[in-house]
């Protein structure tokens, strides 16, 4: 327990700003989660592992002397095809079935990815150094790495691009139609199979962007995927499906919560507090709904 955060107000500012910048990244991942959940009605436990894989792509570019910021362009392109491949091999067989089947199947993919990444890249915690330096604010009391500001900016750009794409393009319209009613969309000539594949690919590409940004800003490790899945799941259930401002807001809220948990409880309880928060949110919503004799479903 460390109560420095209450005695020294600048730490509060630092935690809030860090949390905000971190939360924008979470919101980007959660947007992918909301997309596939809304369109295909699956919950993808491997979401976090896709993020980490995207991060390793950027890290590899860094190792070969290319600036890791280019990973933001390269990683989503590669991840799009990885996503399509996963869809063709596994996901298309679980789309119409019970949600629990999709949870378990993607849990299997998650374990598979974890171990393959462990073989390919080693079990070390790695970081792609962007060399962007830091920004000092408030008489040098608050330190913000420029890479965090860069990653938040890129996330916002990608999120806006995606929203515009979903609103304007033909595929975006088909995806929204499928989300509303897959059967009706099929009758009206939408190739839902293609739409599902594209949705999963877009989700994987978003994970790729987020992963590349995480490898620049924070660290990546083969086994770090599950917390990202849980965070995005939590953001989606708080915000609701298809509520983009809500996703952004709750993402930032979660980021700030995590930074404060880190300062107050200690770093060793950071991930634990995220998972505990998920349980508490679900239980809170369950009690709130049960007053009206309803339940989360």
């Amino acid at each position: 327990m460390d109560f420095l955060v209450f005695q020294y107000p600048m730490i509060t500012v630092q935690a809030c700003l860090d949390g905000l910048l971190l939360g924008i990244l979470f919101a980007l991942i959660a947007y992918g989660m909301a997309l596939q959940w809304g369109v295909m009605n699956i919950i993808n436990i491997a979401q976090g592992d896709l993020v980490i894989l995207g991060g390793y792509i950027a890290y590899f570019m860094y190792l070969y002397g290319i600036h890791p910021a280019w990973g933001v362009i390269v990683s989503p392109i590669i991840m799009y095809f990885v996503g399509i491949a996963i869809y063709k091999l596994v996901i298309n067989k679980v789309v119409d079935r019970d949600l629990f089947i999709s949870i378990l199947a993607t849990f299997g993919i998650s374990i598979l990815f974890m171990q393959l990444m462990n073989f390919a890249f080693g079990a070390d915690v790695v970081l792609a150094n962007s060399g962007y330096g830091t920004t000092m604010l408030f008489d040098n009391n608050v330190v913000l790495p420029n890479s965090k500001i860069f990653s938040a900016f890129i996330s916002i750009v990608f999120a806006i691009c995606l929203v515009v794409y979903m609103k304007r393009s033909k595929l975006g319209r088909a995806i929204r139609a499928t989300a509303q009613n897959a059967r009706a969309a099929k009758i009206l000539g939408v190739d839902t199979e293609k739409v599902y594949a594209a949705t999963f690919g877009i989700n994987a590409a978003l994970c790729g962007v987020a992963g590349a940004l995480i490898s620049i800003t924070f660290t990546i490790h083969p086994y770090m995927g599950l917390p990202y899945t849980i965070r995005s799941f939590m953001i989606v259930i708080v915000a609701g499906l298809g509520n983009l401002p809500g996703v952004a807001m709750s993402g930032m809220g979660l980021g700030i919560f995590e930074e404060f948990a880190d300062y107050i409880l200690g770093t060793e309880f950071r991930i634990g507090s995220v998972f505990l928060l998920l349980v508490l949110i679900l239980v809170y919503r369950r009690f709130k709904l049960s007053r009206k004799r309803e339940y989360l479903k």
Binding site: L104, G108, L112, E268, F275, L282, V283, L296
Partner: protein
């Protein structure tokens, strides 16, 4: 219960009692198999009979493991010094202390998780479907992360359980833990079988099939859901306590609250054998244990890759499991009446 099944039960019991002497090299493997069967059978109470797919039974397993070891140490020695010194170097249990501690520890390991399940049950079991699955997943991982930060039970460096006293060597240790886990298995089987012959099972099945209707019929579903979870927690905690002594070392995320391994294994075993049946989880656990040991022996290093592929294949292609497949093939054996003409008509339709 007819004569044939009595012969079967007695045969299995006798085999179980003599197995460690027939296969002396596999005592530890057989003990682990017993624990796996217990876990799969108790998971089946939730996932198979009640329709609540939980990842959270690992919570009770890990809790039982830590409690059993803590009680066994704490009864005779200061717990904090034990974990700090790495255990066995400073303090030595005499044989009687070891067995007394183990007995008390197992009782605590079974009872406390049951109480915990009762306390959190009302909050957690109100969730349904995938919300329940994800919530229990979060619960298991949170428990692992939090227990990994608590100093008195070893935090990140782990907790060495008391070593087996120096009587009879490895042979005696293997036999002791085998009979302990086999006893737990027999206890679980008798309890679960008894439950499955009562109205309780029908209520659980009603909850699985349509909870709203079950409620409308006047069944207090919440009461039965919590009771079912408490039964699971009892045996999971017991299995955890035995497994902690068997492994000899407890780590928060890799042994006790191991959602990535044991937490998924219990789901997988029940599904592989066929959920919602008495024998399915038992057969599934046995098959799975063979698979797993094969992977761990022949694909060392690649075992998790093989495991991931196995999960995907089982879930996609055998969601009904072995018993479900048999049931489709030989419905008469399962007491279903099949109209021959109807069956032929269906075949012709294809």
């Amino acid at each position: 219960m007819n004569k044939n099944s009595w012969i079967l039960y007695i045969g299995i019991l006798v085999f179980g009692l003599v197995a460690p002497f027939i296969f002396p090299a596999f005592k530890v493997q057989l003990s682990i198999l017993c624990v796996l069967i217990v876990l799969a059978t108790t998971w089946n109470i939730q996932g198979g009979e009640m329709g609540y797919n939980t990842f959270g039974n690992i919570l009770f397993y890990g809790l039982g493991m830590y409690l059993c070891a803590s009680v066994q140490v704490g009864m005779f020695f200061p717990l904090a010094e034990w974990t700090e010194s790495g255990g066995e170097k400073t303090f030595v249990h005499t044989p009687s202390q070891f067995f007394q501690g183990m007995a008390a520890g197992l009782v605590v390991a079974a009872v406390v998780p049951t109480i915990v399940a009762g306390l959190i049950g009302y909050a957690i079991l109100g969730l349904r479907g995938h919300y329940f699955a994800i919530c229990t997943l979060g619960l298991g991982v949170a428990a692992g992360e939090i227990s990994g930060g608590i100093e008195i039970i070893g935090a990140g460096q782990g907790f060495t359980t008391p070593p087996f006293p120096n009587i009879g060597g490895l042979e005696a240790r293997g036999e002791f833990f085998y009979f302990l886990s086999f006893g737990a298995l027999v206890l679980t089987f008798i309890a679960v079988r008894a439950i499955y012959t009562t109205r309780f099972r029908l209520i659980l099945n009603a909850i699985r099939d349509n909870e709203d209707k079950a409620e409308a019929m006047g069944i207090e579903t919440m009461k039965y859901k919590i009771t079912g979870w408490m039964i699971s927690a009892f045996f999971c905690g017991l299995a955890g306590g035995i497994m902690g002594g068997l492994v000899g070392y407890i780590d928060s995320t890799d042994v006790a609250f191991d959602g990535r391994e044991m937490g998924v294994f219990m789901v997988l075993m029940a599904i592989l054998g066929g959920k919602g049946t008495l024998w399915g989880p038992i057969i599934g656990a046995t098959l799975f244990h063979f698979f797993k040991e094969g992977f761990w022996t022949f694909f060392l290093g690649w075992q998790y890759v093989a495991l991931g592929v196995l999960i995907v294949v089982i879930v996609i292609y055998f969601p009904e499991g072995l018993m479900g497949w048999l049931r489709e093939k030989y419905p008469e054996r399962f007491g279903e009446v099949v109209d021959e003409a109807d069956r032929k008509a269906q075949v012709e339709l294809k």
